[in-house]
Symmetry: C2
Subunit: 513 residues, 2 copies
């Protein structure tokens, strides 16, 4: 797709007005950092509708007749897509989610990309225990205030009441610092840059599959540095990695920026965020990167001897992207026909549907379909042949469209005779998205498909960007701001950065408060 | 390494006498399955020494003077290696472990290999919630009996006492079946074959890093089939995948076999296992594959309509390998100098140590070292250049030997002049493992290193196999058995398969009972 024009972190400062977003916890403590005025994007947040039932055994809706139209009820549409595309199901415990293979494959694609980027930027994977002594959480004042309402506690182990109750990690800054004190002695041990892929638990009351669940999967990076400049550079670097990932892999034109003081992570000096506009024009916080300053290192005594032998507290960062991102992909690109996956994150990029009527046609059609599959597989394209007898081609078309597969190849008896195929794009419905008579020859077909996938990838990003930009209004007064928000749009304007301003706008725009 | 001669599952039936092994839980219920007589290998189990302290902040031993000799105190040696090779550390909660980057990299190599094999054999990854309603655990009678003493329970969530306490998963058969009932309707939905990479919690009283910890990482495969034959075939297939992995990647000559009734997984009809002989001649259960029969499907009502429309319970399997395997690698190959990694699982296969005395030599030596690094990296070899100024070459030699890096390349000023390098094998100490004057030319060096790595891989397996075989005695009477066990050896002999026999041998051989 060539070079992408990414919004610059220093030029756009945007925050979502979500009052209760998944990753950052509101710090109610005053930070020492002085807020400077900045531009701010005001927007409705994606609501965390109460969809998880109290009783277990609840199923996501399955409507044989199809998916609720997106324009009719965005939330019902979202749940329909998750169910019918077999992305996830409710777990037996309220607010938990089972990630099914087709949904998990999206997460694996996210992992594959980010793992390489994390390692390229000098981070190593490791693993911390998920049980954290309760006393650790209390050590950093704003951290405990932000997280304590949402903790799951283990109080019984091996049949006995525990002396100290254990927190099931909601995030790992505390245990990371506990260990860092053992590994960091001098400046030679810095920077220390690690990451873990893990599950985390937050006792959310309002949940929604992928967007906000009691337990979710994420990666959490944790770093320690000798200087505040290095920590700031790292926090910015990682929000930049997330931004590039969003644009180039997920085709989501996120707006990177800095959170307001109220929304800064509980225990951080600064929180950078990438905010995405969903199909209902609500904002989704899709990833965050925190400059933790010395807040945790002071609380835990994480010190190093500098080059002059003086003991100093380390400067730290943490940053995370979670399975919430899968929800963001659904709500950015999906349409009335279902899911629409960006080719670079699709576990099936091309589905082949063979078509025959008479038994005599079946063999030659299947042979051709298999050879096309081989051609594409050899070219490194993720291809699936749906050769099941139990469903009609029409049913298969709908099914794979609903699953969001970027390209479909149809092969019937006439195509076999002409040694060509019919190709349909998921992102362009009907005839305009269809091309006939593309040769089955590998020298023609493989590069053609590769090019089409690239086109779709770019096209999804362009479409999402155009949608986003047509829904952001520049405002210069509070009245203009109210007007934009009332139209369901995002408002971009100068902002002095005060808590008072923010609470005023939040009251107006947040529909779950 | 060419084709490996693997012991056949049907010809060798071996069980470890470990009374409290990590994965299977003793089923105290009588199984309907009739036990047939089989050969049995009796052995001491690897003890789960109480090494984790009650207080937090305990550190693994760090001895600047070196590692405890293996022959002197195997357990102390094991803990020294884990600490000094920076594989893991104790977590703050008793019995938990922090897996450090160098140890986690071994786990990642295990994951990379197995993930491909699991997918090749038709399994998809997914994710189940870790919180399981307590009532689920109670549904399968032998399952609750096996696991209930070791459960961690969440009783408080979001500041409130929970109505039903939640189990932090010790394994997932129960929640898997709960979900399978929703996904399986007819024979067309079978086989259903999934896997998850996850953390699990078992409240063990005696813990030891990697070998037995309160929380550990593993993969757990779960499958459902229409017939008992298919389930048995799957259980065997997966223990075969584990066996091949152990031989070909980990260079551990495990003995695959079937567990006795007493050691069968709590809820399984049959448990297959791979048992490895550690350097102290104790047995380590390194992986298990269970034929669950219909035990869980009957408890949870997991049914399908067969081709005649009749409702039947599915036949199931589950199988797991965990971070315990990392402990098995340490205890199989390590020696007095520290860790010894099989090349195929080593995150650093070759370390380059540049040697210079005068400042004038430094640049040319480092230039040569960098170009050698590039040559190997380009050839797909995992190579690290240790160019730090702070340590002497001698210190670096010891350090990387202790870390178990298979090959070391030394480059000094004379090597630069002759355009050649010195190569040392980790597995052959001193001069016999050293080769001088290998050309730096990529056309010579890269294939030479690749071949050496293959040689080391084969050699580690051969050595471990010879050690294993020299410590297994064929016995034909109980007295011979006692004699072999008293010598610390394994005994192989015919066995009627009775519980009485087994408890007799366990009393004699198990040193933690």
């Amino acid at each position: 797709m060539g070079a992408l024009r990414l919004p610059s972190l220093t030029s756009i400062f945007a925050v979502s007005s979500a009052r209760s977003s998944l990753f950052p916890r509101r710090s109610k403590q005053l930070n020492v950092r002085k807020l400077t005025s900045s531009a701010k994007v005001f927007a409705k947040s994606t609501p965390a509708t109460e969809v998880a039932p109290a009783e277990s055994n609840q199923k996501l809706p399955v409507q044989e007749q199809g998916i609720t139209p997106r324009s009719q009820d965005f939330n019902a549409w979202y749940l329909d897509v998750i169910s019918m595309a077999e992305l996830a199901d409710y777990g037996p415990v309220r607010g938990t989610m089972v990630i099914r293979p087709y949904g998990y494959a999206i997460w694996e694609a996210i992992q594959d990309y980010l793992n390489i980027k994390f390692k390229e930027t000098g981070h190593s994977n490791m693993y911390f225990p998920q049980f954290i002594p309760y006393s650790f959480i209390e050590k950093e004042a704003s951290h405990v205030e932000g997280f304590s309402p949402e903790l799951a506690l283990v109080t019984v182990g091996g049949g006995k009441e525990l002396e100290e109750k254990l927190v099931v990690r909601p995030t790992s800054e505390t245990i990371v610092n506990h260990m860092f004190t053992q590994w960091i002695q001098s400046y030679r041990d810095l920077p220390l840059m690690i990451n873990q892929w893990a599950n985390v638990t937050r006792w959310e009351m309002r949940t929604k599959p992928f967007i906000r669940t009691l337990e979710f999967l994420w990666q959490e990076g944790h770093t320690a540095h000798a200087t505040p400049e290095e920590a700031e550079k790292e926090a910015m670097q990682m929000i930049d990695v997330y931004t590039k990932f969003s644009y180039e892999q997920a085709a989501i034109p996120v707006i990177p920026g800095r959170k307001s003081r109220v929304e800064t992570f509980a225990g951080a000096d600064r929180t950078y965020t990438i905010e995405a506009m969903m199909g209902d024009r609500k904002a989704l916080q899709a990833g965050t990167s925190h400059n933790l300053g010395q807040n945790f290192s002071r609380a835990f005594g994480t010190q190093f001897a500098d080059e002059n032998g003086l003991r100093q507290h380390v400067w730290q960062t943490s940053w995370a992207i979670s399975t919430r991102f899968v929800g963001g992909i659904i709500m950015t690109h999906g349409d009335d026909a279902g899911l629409m996956l960006p080719p670079r994150l699709a576990s099936v990029q091309v589905v082949i549907v063979p078509i025959w009527k008479k038994a005599i046609e079946k063999n030659e059609v299947l042979d051709a379909a298999l050879s096309v599959k081989d051609v594409l597989h050899t070219a490194g394209i993720k291809v699936k042949l749906d050769d099941s007898d139990q469903r009609t081609p029409g049913w298969k078309f709908n099914f794979w469209e609903m699953k969001g597969v970027p390209l479909r190849i149809e092969i019937g008896p006439r195509d076999v005779s002409s040694r060509s195929v019919v190709i349909s794009r998921r992102d362009i419905p009907g005839k305009p998205g269809k091309v006939f008579g593309i040769s089955m020859e590998s020298s023609v077909l493989a590069p053609y498909i590769t090019e089409k996938l690239d086109e779709i990838q770019s096209s999804l990003l362009e479409k999402a960007t155009a949608f986003r930009d047509s829904n952001i209004v520049d405002v210069s007064s509070y009245d203009e701001l109210k007007e934009a928000i009332s139209q369901g749009k995002w408002a971009r304007g100068p902002w002095v950065g005060s808590d008072e301003d923010e609470s005023k706008s939040s009251r107006r725009s947040c529909n779950i408060c």
